[in-house]
C-alpha cells in the first residue's frame, strides 16, 4: 500500500470550517445584545461598547481561522498544517494588537472586555460542539430546539 503524499494531497470537498464559523456567527448575533446589556448594566455605556468590541474580535478570529483552513486545504495538506500553526501565531498577534490598540481609549473598560473575550469564545465553542457532536453521532437526526428549515453545518 502506497503512502499518500502530503505535499500533493489536497481536499476539494465542501468547506466545513466556513459552515461551522458561519454557524457560530449566526448564534452570536442574538447573544451579543444580551452580553452587551449585561456589561452595560454593570459598567455603563463604556462597558457595553467594550463588550461589543470583544465579541467582534472573537467572531473575526473564528472567521479568519476558517478562511485560512479552507484556502490552504484546497492547495495541499502540508500547507494547511503550516498555515494552521503560523495562523495561530498570526491570530494571537492580531488579537493582542486589536486589544492593545484601544486599551487606553476613554470608552474601554478592561474587565468587561477581557471577560467577554473569554466567555464568548468558550460559549460559542461549547454551543457549536453540542450541535456538531449530535450531528456526528446521529447523522439522520437534528438536535432538539433546532427550527425546521434552519441550515446546520454538515460535517460529512
Amino acid at each position: 500500500m502506497t503512502q499518500p503524499n502530503l505535499l500533493t494531497t489536497r481536499l476539494d470537498g465542501p468547506a466545513v470550517e466556513q459552515q461551522v464559523a458561519r454557524d457560530m456567527v449566526r448564534r452570536a448575533l442574538p447573544l451579543a445584545p444580551v452580553l452587551m446589556l449585561l456589561a452595560g448594566l454593570i459598567w455603563g455605556i463604556d462597558g457595553s461598547l467594550s463588550s461589543g468590541y470583544a465579541i467582534v474580535i472573537v467572531l473575526a478570529n473564528f472567521m479568519l481561522s476558517a478562511a485560512i483552513l479552507t484556502t490552504t486545504a484546497r492547495i495541499s495538506l502540508a500547507l494547511m498544517m503550516s498555515a494552521v500553526l503560523g495562523g495561530y501565531l498570526l491570530r494571537l498577534a492580531l488579537v493582542t494588537i486589536a486589544v492593545l490598540a484601544v486599551i487606553h481609549q476613554s470608552w474601554v473598560v478592561v474587565v468587561p472586555l477581557a471577560f467577554t473575550l473569554m466567555i464568548t469564545h468558550l460559549g460559542l465553542l461549547f454551543w457549536e460542539t453540542r450541535y456538531v457532536s449530535a450531528t456526528l453521532a446521529y447523522p439522520g437526526l437534528k438536535p432538539r430546539g433546532v427550527h425546521p428549515g434552519r441550515k446546520m453545518a454538515d460535517p460529512t
Binding site: P4, E17, L136
Partner: protein, 93 residues
C-alpha cells in the same frame, strides 16, 4: 561622559520601589502570556498532525476530521486566550 554616568546613577537611585514593582509586574505578565501561548501551540500541532494523518488515510471521512479539527484548534486556542485575558487583567487593572 562622567556627568552622564553620574546622572544615570542619581536617577537610578531615585526610582521609587512602587515603580520597580510595577515594572516587575509588567515583566511577569508578559512572561506569563508568553508561557501560556506555548502549550496551545504544542496542542494545536498535535491536533492538526493527527487530523492530517486521518485525512490522508481516509479521504472519504475528511469532512468529519476537518470539523473536529477546527473545533479542536479553537478549544486549544482558548487556553492562549485565557492567558491573554490574565495578562491584560494583571497589566491594566
Amino acid at each position: 561622559m562622567l556627568d552622564l554616568f553620574a546622572q544615570a546613577a542619581s536617577s537610578s537611585t531615585a526610582v521609587a520601589p512602587t515603580e520597580i514593582l510595577k515594572g516587575l509586574g509588567a515583566v511577569g505578565a508578559g512572561i506569563g502570556y508568553g508561557a501560556a501561548a506555548i502549550g496551545p501551540g504544542i496542542g494545536i500541532g498535535i491536533v492538526v498532525g493527527n487530523a492530517i494523518t486521518a485525512m490522508a488515510r481516509q479521504p472519504e471521512s475528511a469532512g468529519v476530521a476537518r470539523t473536529t479539527m477546527f473545533l479542536g484548534i479553537a478549544f486549544t486556542e482558548a487556553l492562549a486566550l485565557i492567558g491573554f485575558v490574565v495578562f491584560i487583567l494583571l497589566k491594566y487593572t
